[in-house]
């Protein structure tokens, strides 16, 4: 089982999980994903934070350059003493300076990575901290991306006289034996990375898919290949199912357990669901979960099915009236296989989408 490694390296969800793994403590000689960030004393400062430019900066740039009122980079890394910050954005491929949405986001992030970073993060006075904007990018994307960032930096300087943060790209690509990370010397120096580029981060095993365990299994706001999307969906469903089994297995008897879509999604995404913007994609993922729960309910044997009800304002309610009911529900849930579902299926909106639990 060997996925298209080039496509995998481009996948923003893979990139985000890879970045998280790079920051995980692991045994020095027995690493799983080479802990480049951890070794370089870079810690995860925040996942998906909502950032805005301070009012004076917004005033200074309005009508001079395009920018976003709010941005949500994928990850922020910080050095141990929290003096330097790396704003990390995952992108499948590079984009040009005229790409409206991406360029707007990049300009905003470049400004945030500048001297205002202390204020934006609320950690100190202007100039006390330094920032860098880094992109995780798929194979052969770094060169063009660096060019774009250079152009955007110049545009900011020329039109606003404001100082941007420095920038750079981590290009993720396969070698013969592993997935490697390539980065320019200035990124290495700024972040005080312990290794020279390129670094082997995941070693290949024969006929084996190099995916690491996913911390964040799903993000409805990104473009993925069909295969990656199906895997993400499968992991999301496995985690939802696992959560339900845990909660029912550990419940007091008799009791009734209620699952809301939000609770299930928050659990399954390590809390990221609640920071996703409320838009069509977020509604889509809720529909996905509702459909998944309906599928679960449909495979529960008929007499037991009466113990599971759905109330639009509350969610799914499992009525565990006695131990036998609990044991039987658990047994049937444990036999449920999300892999047998049609993971490529699109869930269409319904009239009742707004009746959230």
């Amino acid at each position: 089982m060997n996925p298209n490694i080039n496509e995998l390296c481009k996948d923003p969800l893979f990139q985000l999980n890879l970045a998280i793994w790079l920051a995980q403590p692991q045994p020095p000689s027995e690493f799983y994903v080479y802990p480049l960030f951890y070794e370089s004393q870079l810690n995860i400062y925040s996942i998906g934070p909502l950032l805005t430019l301070p009012p004076d900066i917004r005033l200074a740039v309005t009508e001079k350059i395009d920018f976003q009122d709010t941005v949500r980079p994928d990850l922020i890394l910080a050095t141990a003493e929290k003096k330097k910050f790396c704003i990390l954005e995952c992108k499948s491929s590079s984009f040009g300076p005229k790409s409206s949405k991406n360029a707007k986001q990049a300009k905003t992030l470049l400004l945030i990575a500048g001297p205002v970073i202390s204020e934006v993060l609320g950690i100190g006075k202007i100039g006390e901290n330094e920032g860098i904007l880094c992109y995780f990018i798929g194979p052969n994307g770094a060169e063009l991306m660096e060019e774009t960032l250079k152009t955007l930096e110049k545009e900011i300087k020329d039109k606003t006289s404001l100082e941007s943060g420095t920038y750079g790209c981590f290009e993720i690509k396969p070698s013969q034996t592993s997935i490697i990370l390539e980065y320019p010397e200035r990124v290495k120096i700024f972040l005080n990375l312990t290794k020279n580029s390129p670094v082997e981060v995941i070693k290949f095993e024969e006929d084996t898919d190099p995916h690491p365990l996913y911390f964040i299994p799903y993000d409805p706001n990104i473009d993925q290949t069909k295969e990656e999307k199906e895997l993400s969906k499968r992991i999301l469903f496995e985690r939802i199912l696992e959560y339900m089994i845990c909660k029912i297995g550990g419940a007091y008897i008799p009791s009734s357990i209620t699952f809301t879509t939000e609770e299930l999604l928050n659990y399954a995404t390590f809390g990221l669901y609640e920071i996703w913007e409320e838009n069509e994609t977020k509604r889509h993922v809720r529909r996905l979960v509702k459909d998944f729960l309906n599928q679960i309910r449909s495979v529960i044997s008929i007499p037991l099915r009466e113990s599971i009800t759905y109330e639009p304002q509350r969610g799914w309610i499992f009525n565990l009236k006695d131990r036998e009911t609990r044991e039987e529900i658990l047994k049937q849930l444990q036999r449920f296989k999300p892999e047998t579902l049609d993971l490529s299926k699109n869930i269409e909106p319904t009239l009742f989408d707004n009746m959230e639990d």
Partner: protein, 429 residues
């Protein structure tokens, strides 16, 4: 050794019932232990030895209930002797008085009993099996190796130590047996109570006891372990009693048999090991628990930090394809399996699977990558740290006795060593 003229369960129950204070319990069990020691010397045991079972409440402090309330759910009455000591009466199946429960901390307690091993073992096992809030205290081979070093330090070199090594490569099988789907189906339909009777054909098993002078074992054991890896899989270890002959046999599932003539010393050793275990548990959970930590900043909104560390168990030698396949199949293909894990394996290669699963001992989540070379686990916050210790115990016992474990970049063994430092050894004599 045979038991001669033994007493009935009813007699034992009556004696337990008659004890009304802590002092009486200590005196009674002390005298009882001394009598058994004499009988052991004469090799004529008349009554069962005193046994203790170290138990643990799940680590989730938010929902911790009193142990007496948990027992009540199973028809077990806890009759208060003092603030932390109870007489235990099993009313549900008319077992009578089973023993005494001492609550050491809200998280840890110990059950003392005079009932024979088969009865007491079964009773405790069923209790743990049926309660998602209770578990044994799990002492892995790696923990025992550190405890053994402590024994070597605190005991006189001429004293005898007894060490039991158990390793069963139950997943090392013939391909012929592996192909037997019907057998697998049969096992899937077994109920929880039948879990123990599942027979898996063993291909390699090492179980033997080493009894020798501490000085001799100290000189030889580490060399022998390098030569023969099952010797890392210590599953029982005796702390020699400092007050006389015999000692206290600690098992990997927290059972402790008093083979000394002194109950107070027996209890002291339990308290000592429990303190080390508690410290180890705190360190493990502090480091390994994954959670999204929310930090509010002035402008704007919340910052989400991910904190935690993966648990990595590295095998000494890669597993064969057959062993790997059988391990995965027998663990995740059966609702009831030795590791008590549930999950649907996501197959990523001939020797790599991911499982976003459940530790069914306590019904808590665990995400695992299994390959022929390692097991990596992500333990979300709230999953009890003893999931990790049990996992290490089971890996050493059934997969690879020489496996090394890490919590993040810290070797588990050094974490046990650190946990034992600063815990005072306080025998009551």
């Amino acid at each position: 050794m045979d038991m001669e003229g033994g007493m009935s369960d009813i007699d034992i129950s009556k004696e337990i019932k008659s004890i009304t204070s802590r002092e009486k319990m200590i005196r009674y069990l002390d005298g009882y232990s001394a009598e058994r020691m004499e009988e052991l010397d004469e090799r004529k045991i008349k009554r069962p030895l005193v046994k203790s079972y170290m138990l643990e409440h799940i680590g989730d402090t938010g929902r911790q209930r009193k142990v007496t309330d948990i027992l009540a759910e199973f028809g077990i009455e806890s009759q208060k002797i003092d603030e932390n000591l109870y007489r235990i009466l099993d009313k549900k199946i008319d077992e009578g008085y089973m023993g005494f429960l001492e609550v050491l901390t809200p998280r840890y307690f110990v059950f003392y009993t005079l009932h024979p091993s088969d009865k007491a073992d079964r009773w405790i096992k069923n209790l743990v099996l049926n309660s998602p809030e209770l578990d044994h205290v799990w002492l892995s081979g790696l923990t025992f190796n550190v405890l053994w070093q402590i024994i070597a330090q605190i005991s006189k070199p001429h004293r005898y130590v007894s060490i039991l090594f158990v390793h069963e490569s139950i997943y090392q099988i013939d391909s012929e047996i592996y192909g037997d789907e019907n057998e697998e189906d049969k096992e899937i339909s077994l109920s929880l109570d039948e879990e123990d009777v599942i027979e898996v054909v063993e291909r390699r098993a090492s179980k033997f006891k080493l009894v020798d002078k501490i000085s001799v074992v100290q000189e030889k054991l580490s060399k022998l372990q390098e030569l023969y890896s099952p010797l890392y899989a210590i599953s029982q270890l005796r702390f020699p009693s400092p007050v006389g002959r015999g000692g206290h046999d600690f098992y990997d599932n927290g059972k402790v048999t008093n083979r000394s003539g002194n109950f107070r010393d027996h209890r002291s050793h339990i308290l000592y090991v429990q303190k080390i275990y508690d410290e180890l548990m705190k360190r493990t959970e502090e480091k390994a628990w994954y959670s999204m930590f929310k930090e509010t900043v002035t402008i704007p909104g919340q910052f989400q930090k991910l904190i935690g560390a993966p648990v990595i168990i590295k095998f000494g030698e890669p597993l064969s394809k057959e062993t790997f396949d059988y391990w995965i199949k027998s663990t995740f293909g059966r609702i009831n399996n030795r590791f008590r894990l549930w999950g649907n394996p996501i197959i990523l290669g001939p020797k790599k699977v991911h499982v976003y699963g459940v530790d069914k001992h306590l019904w808590k989540p665990i995400f695992i990558e299994l390959t022929d070379k390692h097991l990596i686990a992500i333990i979300p916050k709230g999953t009890c740290g003893n999931t990790i210790h049990r996992l290490i115990c089971n890996i050493q016992r059934y997969i690879d006795p020489s496996a090394k474990a890490y919590i993040g970049d810290v070797e588990y063994k050094s974490m046990v060593e650190q946990s034992s430092k600063g815990v005072k050894y306080e025998p009551e004599y």
